[in-house]
């Protein structure tokens, strides 16, 4: 008897802890979010693009020139390249994924890029398609005119860029870049290895410019201006530009990502403005709350005391689901919220089946305690069978779906699984804990349902 009450209390405390976690880690609910412990900041809800606003781009990768075995490796390389580029322009939590053509379905190899918060896609697509521009420039011949600007402090400033002229050597002729450290100063350097054409060009340039500066430009700005000491024929160069190790590493990554392994073209794009995302989010939250209230009201009116307990275990179910969304994390979309809301409706199904059984057992003259225990064991089969079909649907939808369908399938499937646990275990413990109310007429009234007295 007391064991059951203690167990019920433990569940309540645990559930309270989960609800507290969800509350504390959600900036919209917790007004002191900024000052709260960093642990809670690690678990925000991950919102899909239709809720947060942003852009969803689908690229087609042209793999027609590749052999079958090379395709998947090239697609991975492509993904890495694009991911690096996307990361470079500071989008928070970009998602870059390869969608393989898949058996039986055919279709193209695709790359899907999600950019939350980015609605100016023109700029984004430009940057994704862009190769970092590495240029080698040589000193301007001494007799040509130079531009002089008057700086803010009144002194004449020689514009650095006007001092150099373009050469043919660019990052296009780069074979690979590596991260190196200077043997003496331990400073990070970026080592360059040119391909055959690049090696020849580099040899020409260095030969013609011994004793002069060669400027290395990245994306239009000079990063290093070493002085050539002698002709270099091995096709190797290194840039030491006062890098921090991180910067050097990033540059190596960018240079190596230079050329895309396979050509890509934009197939489709979707942009959702932030306001639209916001209103969808608010509507989703509102529908969840109202949906829960409807169900709780129905349960309490129709099933009385067990209904109240089912409502409490439904609240616990919701807390567990929200916590799982944060911890796994599940990317929430409008369809995903719909799946979650439907799972709230399905979650109480098991309870309804149990309560109807309990009512039957009560009618056949059993005591409340017996009726509860029989009700649970007899309802189990139909609970199991009726949930299996939903789980089957969810699994297949998840397997074959696009990201939109996946969100729905995942929340629905998780909801059904978690609900089987919460409806059966939690409700059972609570019902067991209050069985001390005895066999009075009031007690039997509280355990009846519907219109009966």
């Amino acid at each position: 008897m007391w064991r059951k009450v203690v167990l019920a209390l433990i569940i309540l405390i645990l559930a309270g802890g989960i609800a507290f976690f969800v509350f504390k880690s959600e900036p919209r609910l917790n007004s002191n979010f900024e000052s709260s412990h960093s642990f809670f900041k690690k678990f925000p809800f991950r919102l899909g693009l239709d809720l947060s606003g942003g852009s969803h781009l689908i690229y087609k990768a042209d793999v027609s020139a590749l052999k079958g075995a090379e395709v998947s490796a090239s697609m991975e390389a492509l993904r890495d390249v694009i991911e690096r580029r996307v990361n470079l322009f500071g989008v928070s939590e970009p998602v870059v994924q390869v969608q393989e053509s898949g058996f039986a379905l055919g279709g193209d190899e695709k790359l899907i890029v999600d950019l939350p918060g980015v609605t100016d896609v023109e700029k984004a697509t430009e940057m994704i398609g862009q190769t970092p521009l590495l240029e080698f420039k040589t000193e301007r011949p001494a007799d040509s005119p130079q531009e002089v600007k008057i700086g803010a402090d009144g002194k004449a400033v020689l514009d650095l860029s006007s001092q150099f002229v373009n050469t043919e050597l660019t990052g296009r002729y780069l074979k690979k870049a590596t991260l190196e450290f200077d043997a003496n100063t331990r400073e990070p350097k970026v080592g360059l290895q040119f391909d055959d054409t690049g090696t020849k060009l580099f040899a020409q340039i260095t030969k013609a410019n011994v004793g002069k500066m060669v400027a290395i430009y990245l994306d239009g700005s000079p990063i290093s201006t070493p002085v050539v000491r002698e002709e270099i024929t091995g096709g190797q160069a290194s840039i030491s530009g006062n890098f921090t190790p991180t910067e050097a590493k990033l540059l190596v990554g960018r240079l190596n990502s230079g050329a895309l392994p396979v050509p890509i073209s934009l197939l489709s794009r979707q942009t959702i403005g932030a306001t639209l995302g916001d209103s969808a989010m608010n509507a989703g939250v509102k529908a969840t709350i109202i949906g829960f209230l409807f169900v709780a009201l129905f349960l309490i009116l129709w099933y009385r005391l067990p209904g109240l307990i089912a409502s409490i275990s439904l609240l616990i179910f919701i807390s567990i689901m929200l916590a799982l969304f944060k911890l796994i994390p599940v990317t929430l979309t409008a369809a995903g919220i719909a799946g979650f809301i439907i799972s709230i409706g399905i979650a109480v199904d098991a309870n309804v089946l149990i309560f109807e059984r309990v009512k039957e057992e009560l009618r056949s003259g059993r005591t409340i305690v017996d009726a509860i225990s029989f009700g649970f064991s007899r309802a189990w089969l139909s609970i199991r069978d009726s949930n299996i079909s939903n789980i089957i649907t969810a699994i297949i939808l998840f397997w074959f779906g696009t990201s939109l369908i996946k969100g729905f399938a995942l929340t629905l499937g998780m909801g059904v699984l978690v609900s089987m646990f919460s409806a059966i275990t939690i409700t059972r413990v609570f019902l067991g804990a209050i069985s001390f109310i005895g066999e009075s007429r009031v007690a039997r009234f509280l355990f009846s349902s519907g219109l009966s007295k």
């Binding site: 969808a280 949906g291 129905f298 919220i337 439907i342 939808l397 074959f400 729905f408």
Partner: protein, 301 residues
């Protein structure tokens, strides 16, 4: 039990609704959304005043993007439907809509889907539908393997599939009407709705059949039992829980229809209909059919 007694009336009602849905499907046809056929959808909201539709139509025609459809939305907005657009075309469209900058607007959403993506999604949707249907049929065969007398278990499965079709066809018919009168388009969510209804419908039918199965097991002496009485009795015992379980789902779905995001409105409405007719069919269609089949069996003997 009156359901068994008046089974022909209920069966007739179901047949009528299914025929109505099928004929509306053939008469109105389905509007396929850009998810499947490719195309672009641009939604803009004007800051102060939206231009006349006729005027804007002329403006858009001069772009030569093929056929375009302009629909007013909200107080100050328009939705433009066209073929899929690349970045340059998209910018031209926005410029035209803004009357070359004279009437400032914000772009709420832009969605451009290439035709090949649409074709692929169509394939995917069909594969998913076939797989879900197969899996559900296998599951039904598994769930009813133990019930075999006096009606063999594959007949339970057959009836479950008939009710399944019933539960999917009627909401689909409803959707066709919505699409005809309110411009709803068949998109990915439509497919998800159909598949979800499949899952929900079976689970509802199983609750009732499970009861019949249990009651049949309890009756000893196979020759004496009155099958239709047992079915009627089982329905009587379980219709309250069948309605209750569906009602909780319908309640949350209604919350989704009336308060939820715009994008899932038709989706939720379709599921509500699916849930409603799923419950109706498990009580008023599946059980009467079971009795009818048994009666035919006896007549043959």
């Amino acid at each position: 039990m009156f359901i068994i007694k008046y089974k022909k009336i209920f069966l007739g009602l179901s047949v009528f609704l299914v025929l109505l849905s099928l004929s509306s499907l053939f008469i109105f046809g389905v509007k396929v959304g850009i998810d499947f056929k490719g195309g672009a959808l641009t939604e803009v909201v004007y800051k102060t005043e939206r231009p006349e539709q006729l005027f804007l139509n002329q403006k858009l025609e001069s772009l030569n993007f093929g056929s375009m459809l302009l629909q007013p939305t909200g107080e100050l907005g328009y939705i433009v439907k066209s073929r899929d657009l690349n970045e340059a075309e998209h910018n031209l469209l926005l410029k035209s809509l803004a009357l070359d900058g004279k009437n400032s607007l914000t772009e709420v959403s832009f969605n451009s889907i290439g035709p090949s993506v649409g074709r692929e999604l169509t394939k995917k949707a069909i594969v998913a539908m076939i797989l879900v249907s197969l899996a559900i049929i296998l599951f039904i065969a598994f769930a009813f393997r133990k019930v075999s007398r006096p009606v063999s278990s594959w007949k339970y499965g057959f009836i479950a599939i008939v009710t399944l079709l019933h539960d999917v066809i009627i909401p689909a018919g409803l959707f066709v009407m919505l699409s005809h009168y309110y411009g709803a388009e068949m998109d990915t969510l439509f497919v998800v709705a159909v598949l979800t209804i499949l899952g929900l419908s079976v689970s509802d039918t199983i609750v009732i059949f499970d009861r019949i199965r249990e009651n049949l097991k309890n009756v000893s002496g196979m020759n004496k039992i009155n099958f239709s009485e047992i079915v009627g009795h089982s329905v009587e015992q379980s219709y309250v829980r069948s309605i209750s379980t569906s009602l909780t789902v319908i309640l949350v779905l209604l919350a989704l229809v009336f308060f939820g995001p715009v994008t899932t409105k038709y989706f939720a409405l379709m599921l509500t209909a699916g849930m409603f007719f799923g419950t109706y069919s498990s009580i008023f269609l599946a059980s009467p059919l079971l009795v009818l089949i048994e009666e035919w069996q006896n007549r043959k003997k």
